[in-house]
């Protein structure tokens, strides 16, 4: 029997989901909806009695105090008159995360006969609406056809999965012409080029047979840009055109645009990012660029590891699911590092198109940026909060060009005992897959993210989109750490992109492995051997377990209801052999799989672009400009997002993302105590500014590194032990101009890391971020995220950014220059300019070290880094976050330029600058520490709630109440 049950809020209970939907519909510009009601629908299948059904409904499905239910409400949802019913259910094959919990809950009631449990969401729209408006609301807001459907629309319900009939499929490569080879690659979504296809053909010619579909898929996945980073490891012929445009106002002491003389690059990664680490030889680097995340020392007992990934392509198509599985995936990186680390914090950085992007201009196949943003935030919230990992740090930036490719960076740091930092698979160890079951979800994720998106991506790549189940991952994590502490396994890795193919392939790289695919536990019947192998179903990890430990291992997993299954064995054949029901379906040499990819050769070109310098008339009153900057989407408060993340779970949060007299000011970085009974901490920060890349990716990269370090200093940290990660999100690297910028940014990374003495320990790139509509390609701005992790000796020395006491002195440290290129001030005038902020690393290091000493001595009451929006925005944020006024005198700002302009001093984004609050009686002590460095005593904190800036002529150029400033800053993203 199939029962349909509908649960809704009792009369008088606030229907938060319905009202939320109502607000979103209004945002869509549809005015006719008067009200929205929400109901949860459940479909239960099984042999149960009336009484049992009643028990399930009353004791499990509803909250008796606030909800009521009805059974079998009349068949199909019926819309009538002004009442429009939209019921959204998951597509067959998509994991319904509630199902497992519900089935358990039903069993707990002592009821055994239920075989399936499905959920759906029902929205009842009240109002005069046309069919097309209902359709718009459904498609734009309520469901995503990649994973869901509207019930009753046409032939829905739960299609039974057909039983799979085994047949080995061979792909005819041996007889294929070049054209056919390319066809095979394209049709199979392998994203392999002709050279690569030829290399595969050659391998099989030697073997004297054609590959199976699975073998070809395995090679494609292993060789994908996503897994192999072919661009970074390939050969690049690089040419550079820099005229060194010496603009009039450029001062001689500034570093000129460096010319990179190298023309032929063999492995960009090794020549830049990894080279810096190698040359810096930091003794506290434990494992770099090897494992699933980079490891550094923490204290005598523990190491910490850190990894940041992107999940851009899936988030473009299905924001909730994409971000959800993005964070779920990066959490498994520390879990799969060494012998498994416990995740202690998350960081998330997003780039979207502006939320007020006109619907009429949206390219076909894209979702509106506001929906993307809301979906992504919900996805991160859902997974991070449910995993019990605090999301402590992040950033959100906006630009039109992210309309087809939003960027979703997710990062996780973990902590692990020193002696658990390395893994070693042994011959004879069993291959054990643990966690969730394998389904048809996420097929082709690795290869799909190695190509550009088109407006057809949403149909052809729908299999690559999934939703996660954080509780599955959480319980898996709990048991893994137990098994780790009992020394039950010798290696672990996650099944990420490429699924088992990637996990077993990597773990068995040195030795070889044999896997019996029919042993892999499946969500449902009907998967082919090939699908089992490459499925990217979430929440799975692979362990290598010595035979003598297997019983104990299986026992402890079973005790906490986590599946663990032996699916094969690591061998010494150096071959990957896969069997399905006794048939050999894959027999590949590990060496070919991992080393056989032909090195790619690409061309790269870089030319400095010349941008228009905006003609901005100097205004006497700059208050409106400050208000506009505070309302700039990049700068404004992200409180709406931050509060939805649990940033304090695990109890280690010290400096929270929001701080201030009413806890709503923007912290520069996060400080977390990963070991509760120790006062040692971690500082997590990020540097990102794609706007500088419009002018010169070299200085963008340099600035990103510098910014991430500046934030650490601003929180009371030091340069003593800082490690960084690089995450490049770029356009199509097959296009020389895109690749040219990437090369130049990489050199910026190298120089910055080297000069500041901060090694890269891990990184990741996401290329091909372009969206093709009718042959026209939109590339994202080349964007680099630098994520920094620093070990802090004593978290009690943490400094926060908000003004503390009236009468205290306000300083600026660092040199302000005419560096408004790429600034948010210029952006207000739709201009980019050319004077991009540069970095003087020697000077910057001196400033950083001096401020670290001052923090350490407890001199600093508050400190804030000057970044987006310059000194004016930084000082204003300090003032309104502390609820105290400020008087600032621009004549005291160390300023180096030919044009003396109030607006330039206020809004220039020169690097390596801080605003600092010092008590009057500490003035001497503080200034002593700063001797020889550029600094200015620029004002003081006043008890009035007024923020005033006096220009070079001594007259007030900004005069604004704190409430007004704060409102400008908080209003734009107060959704």
């Amino acid at each position: 029997m199939v029962y349909k049950i509908e649960v809704k809020d009792s009369p008088g209970v606030f229907d938060a989901v319905g009202k939320g939907a109502l607000k979103d519909i209004f945002d869509l510009g549809i005015k006719g909806v008067e009200d929205v009601f929400f109901a949860q629908a459940y479909t239960i299948e099984g042999q149960i009695s009336e009484a049992q059904l009643k028990l399930i409904c009353e004791e499990l499905l509803i909250d008796k105090i606030s909800q009521e239910y009805s059974v079998n409400p009349s068949g199909k949802p019926q819309s009538a008159g002004d009442k429009h019913i939209i019921e959204v259910a998951y597509n067959p094959g998509v994991m319904d995360p509630v199902e497992e919990s519900a089935l358990k809950g039903i069993k707990d009631l002592g009821i055994e006969g239920v075989v399936s449990f499905k959920t759906a969401k029902k929205y009842i729209l009240q109002g005069k609406l046309s069919d097309s408006q209902v359709k718009t609301i459904s498609e734009k807001l309520l469901y995503n056809k990649l994973i869901q459907h509207i019930v009753g629309a046409q032939g829905t319900g739960h299609r039974a999965q057909a039983e799979y009939k085994f047949k080995v499929i061979n792909v005819d490569l041996l007889g294929a012409s070049d054209k056919v080879l390319l066809d095979i690659s394209k049709k199979g979504q392998l994203f392999l080029n002709l050279n690569e296809m030829l290399a595969i053909k050659k391998y099989f010619q030697k073997a004297g047979r054609n590959p199976t579909d699975l073998e070809l898929e395995t090679v494609a996945q292993t060789w994908s840009e996503h897994c192999m980073h072919k661009t970074f490891r390939g050969k690049i012929e690089y040419t550079e055109k820099i005229q060194n445009p010496k603009s009039k106002i450029q001062n001689k002491s500034q570093i000129q645009n460096p010319k990179i003389k190298i023309k032929k690059i063999n492995n960009l990664l090794k020549s830049t990012i990894m080279k810096a680490t190698k040359e810096l030889k930091k003794p506290w680097c434990v494992s770099v660029f090897k494992d699933n995340s980079g490891i550094i020392e923490f204290d005598d007992k523990y190491n910490v590891c850190f990894k940041v990934e992107t999940h851009n392509h899936p988030s473009a198509l299905e924001p909730f699911g994409g971000a959800n599985t993005g964070i779920g995936g990066v959490i498994r990186d520390p879990m799969g590092t060494g012998l498994g680390a416990k995740p202690v914090l998350n960081t998330d950085v997003f780039c979207f198109a502006p939320p007020d992007y006109p619907f009429s201009k949206l390219p076909k196949g894209t979702l509106h940026p506001k929906r993307v943003a809301k979906g992504v935030v919900s996805g991160v919230r859902d997974y991070g909060n449910k995993m019990g990992i605090p999301t402590v740090n992040g950033a959100v930036l906006f630009h039109d060009k992210f309309v087809g490719n939003p960027l979703v960076y997710c990062g996780t740091a973990g902590i692990l005992p020193k002696e658990k930092s390395f893994k070693q698979v042994h011959t004879g160890d069993l291959v054990v897959v643990v966690g969730g079951r394998t389904g048809r979800d996420g097929i082709h994720g690795a290869t799909f993210s190695s190509g550009e998106l088109t407006h057809e991506s949403e149909t052809i790549s729908s299999g690559a989109v999934q939703i996660g189940n954080p509780i599955q991952e959480k319980k898996m994590l709990d048991v893994i750490l137990k098994a780790r502490d009992e020394n039950l396994y010798t290696a672990i890795t996650d099944c990420g992109a490429g699924g088992l193919s990637s996990a077993v392939g990597e773990m068995g790289q040195e030795l070889g492995a044999e896997v019996y695919l029919e042993k892999v536990p499946l969500k449902y019947d009907g998967l082919s051997y090939m699908e089992i192998w490459i499925s990217e179903s979430q929440e799975r990890m692979t362990l290598s377990v010595p035979k003598e430990n297997i019983n104990r291992l299986l026992e402890i997993f079973a005790k906490e209801n986590v599946e663990a299954t032996v699916i094969g064995e690591f061998t010494n054949t150096k071959r990957l052999k896969l069997y399905y029901r006794g048939n050999l379906v894959c027999d590949l040499a590990m060496e070919f799989l991992h080393e056989g990819v032909p090195q790619i050769a690409k061309k790269a070109e870089f030319a400095i672009a010349k941008h228009r310098e905006p003609a901005i008339r100097p205004a006497k009153n700059l208050t409106p400009q400050l208000l506009k900057l505070l309302s700039h989407y990049d700068i404004c408060s992200k409180e709406w997002i931050i509060r939805q993340y649990d940033h304090e779970v695990q109890g280690g949060s010290v400096l929270k993302p929001l701080t201030g007299i009413v806890n709503d000011g923007p912290s520069d970085a996060a400080v977390v105590k990963p070991v509760l009974n120790s006062s040692k901490g971690l500082i997590i920060s990020n540097g990102i500014n794609f706007r500088y890349g419009f002018i010169d990716p070299y200085w963008m990269a340099f600035s990103c590194v510098e910014e991430s370090l500046r934030q650490i200093i601003a929180c009371g940290g030091s340069l003593k032990q800082v490690a960084i990660l690089d995450n490049f999100c770029w356009g199509n690297p097959d296009k020389p101009d895109r690749l040219g910028g990437l090369v130049r940014a990489s050199y910026g990374c190298y120089d910055a890391a080297k000069q500041f003495g901060v090694p890269f320990i891990s990184g990741k790139d996401s290329l091909y971020n372009e969206f093709t509509v009718h042959g026209k390609s939109i590339a994202i701005p080349g964007t680099l995220l630098i994520s920094a992790i620093s070990v802090m000796d004593d978290v009690n020395k943490t400094v926060s950014m908000f003004a503390k006491n009236s009468g205290d002195l306000v300083y600026i440290i660092g040199q302000t220059k005419d560096e408004l290129g790429g600034s948010h001030y210029f952006d207000l005038f739709n201009a980019i300019g050319n004077n991009v902020p540069k970095v003087d690393p020697k000077q910057a290091k001196k400033i950083f070290n001096a401020l670290s000493r001052a923090s350490d001595a407890g001199l600093i009451k508050a400190m804030h880094d000057c970044s987006d929006g310059g000194l004016a925005v930084a000082a204003a944020e300090m003032a309104f976050s502390g609820g105290l006024g400020m008087d600032i005198f621009l004549s005291e700002v160390p300023y180096q330029a030919q044009t003396e302009r109030d607006d330039f001093i206020l809004f220039s984004e020169s690097n390596s600058r801080f605003i600092v609050e010092i008590e009057k009686n500490r003035q001497k002590q503080f200034e002593n520490i700063l001797k020889g460095l550029p600094f200015g005593l620029i004002g003081c904190i006043n008890p009035q709630k007024q923020f005033r800036v006096f220009g070079l002529n001594g007259k007030a150029c900004i005069d604004a109440g704190l409430a007004k400033l704060k409102e400008s800053w908080q209003a734009p993203l107060r959704w």
Binding site: N385, K386, T659
Partner: protein, 265 residues
Amino acid sequence: MKKPRVCILRTAGTNCDKETAFAFEKAQAETELVHINQLVGGNKKLADYQILALPGGFSYGDDLGAGKILANELRFKLADDLKDFIKAGKLIIGICNGFQILVKSGLLPGNQNLAQESSLIINDSGKFEDRWVYLRAAKNSQRAALCVWAKDLPETIYLPVAHGEGKFITNNKITLSRLKENNQIVFQYCGQDGKSAGYPDNPNGSAESIAGICDLTGRILGLMPHPERHIDPAQHPRLVRDKKIKDGDGLQIFINGVEYCRKNL
């Protein structure tokens, strides 16, 4: 002196277990993280502990309502053990998801047949929110006297909340007045000045600004805010640097529970 033993109950999705254990240890208790399967399967016995702590998290993903499935497990699989535990005069604390479980299992506000009389439903804001709140815990009143967990607290304490379903409601007005009359309302959200205030001081729209209640014996406490997240001044959102302040506001709640066991059990 023998330390009271605390059973920190965990299951799939529990995620504040370790810091709750740490807080109890700081309050001089002995703690053990116990999986629900161990209690249901009989490998561990509730009777061996003096305190049962239900920590925060998302037990079973909050699927079908926050705390619902674990609450049912307690009702249908551990009912007798729980009744004995309560009868023996032992203590229970439920924090956040733990409070949701206590309410949905009928252990709070508590009546003869453990029927559910109140609930914690989706916040008025419609979303999960993490923010710090002031709580009124009246000093020297009967209220403080009734709940053993709330002794010796200052007028107002400062703790973070982090939840999506924390709006306290009752089945009817009678229950609500009964809670007041019986002094079962232990914590109420308030402004910094200790007075009643609207959102966001009351972060979820709870009736009577209720943040925590106890049963009629005062030994079972449930609260939405997280006392374990403020046991150390370093956790304070404004980084209080007063050397005289040794502990965070939440620690006293754990000390109260532990001290009570020492003296009475």
